[in-house]
Symmetry: C2
Subunit: 142 residues, 2 copies
């Protein structure tokens, strides 16, 4: 059981954006280079973060991306909810599980997923922001 790489990269983008100098715009290319991850995948992640309202994209020559809200107001569980394709703990439909109608396991698994998200919601993006580390990355030879 693992978060998708999509959500993993979303966290890295948000950590990065919350850690750079205030007011500074960043680019997807810069973040892809820092984390050495594919720019195509990161572009999709950034688009979804934009649609979900976590970041703002400013177009044009001097454009870029920045956080749409203060890091203190972004709950970590909300990132998982927005980025994971599914929070369904098991797939009972393909193939169709014959216990589906009266299953007693599924509600318990759903409760466990809820606990997972609620634990994340005890923290905000500000708790995982890493100013010093990101500043170091910015000056480190790649």
């Amino acid at each position: 059981m693992q978060l998708t790489r999509h959500t993993d990269y979303a966290f890295r983008v948000l950590i990065y954006l919350s850690s750079v100098e205030e007011g500074k715009l960043s680019t997807v290319g810069e973040i892809a280079e820092i984390f050495q991850v594919p720019i195509n995948h990161l572009t999709k992640v950034v688009q979804q973060l934009g649609k979900a309202g976590f970041i703002i994209t400013l177009r044009g020559k001097n454009g870029g991306i920045r956080l749409a809200h203060d890091p203190e107001s972004i709950l970590l569980g909300s990132v998982v909810r927005a980025m994971e394709a599914t929070l369904d703990p098991v797939n009972c439909s393909q193939p169709l599980c014959r216990l589906k109608i009266n299953c007693r396991l599924k509600p318990i698994l759903n409760r466990a997923i809820q606990s997972f998200i609620e634990t994340l919601d005890e923290y905000t993006l500000a708790d995982i922001s890493q100013n010093k580390e990101v500043q170091t990355l910015l000056v480190t030879e790649l």
Copy 2:
């Protein structure tokens, strides 16, 4: 974020074995047919359940499998711990995340996974056993 099919099938096998008549031995073929899942995959699941001490395999012509313990003593979290290939919420090593050494996110994600498992550990196999439903499946035309 989803449990692997391996763990999903493990739960189905355990639900089945906890629901059949006491003392009765079951076969992998019978369970594969009931749930209409591939017998090869189910065989691997059953082998792992055996190694982890959840079930006992009796060999020979009249052999089969049965639970090794009372359903009341099998915590649901222990099934996930035994069957999931990883409970590492993200893969920070491939590709290597450059924030890995000082990451503040990973300990929070690990705490959330812990909450997931602890919620499951509030329940036992007896809570998800389905005697009536399995009896119905056994007599249902496939």
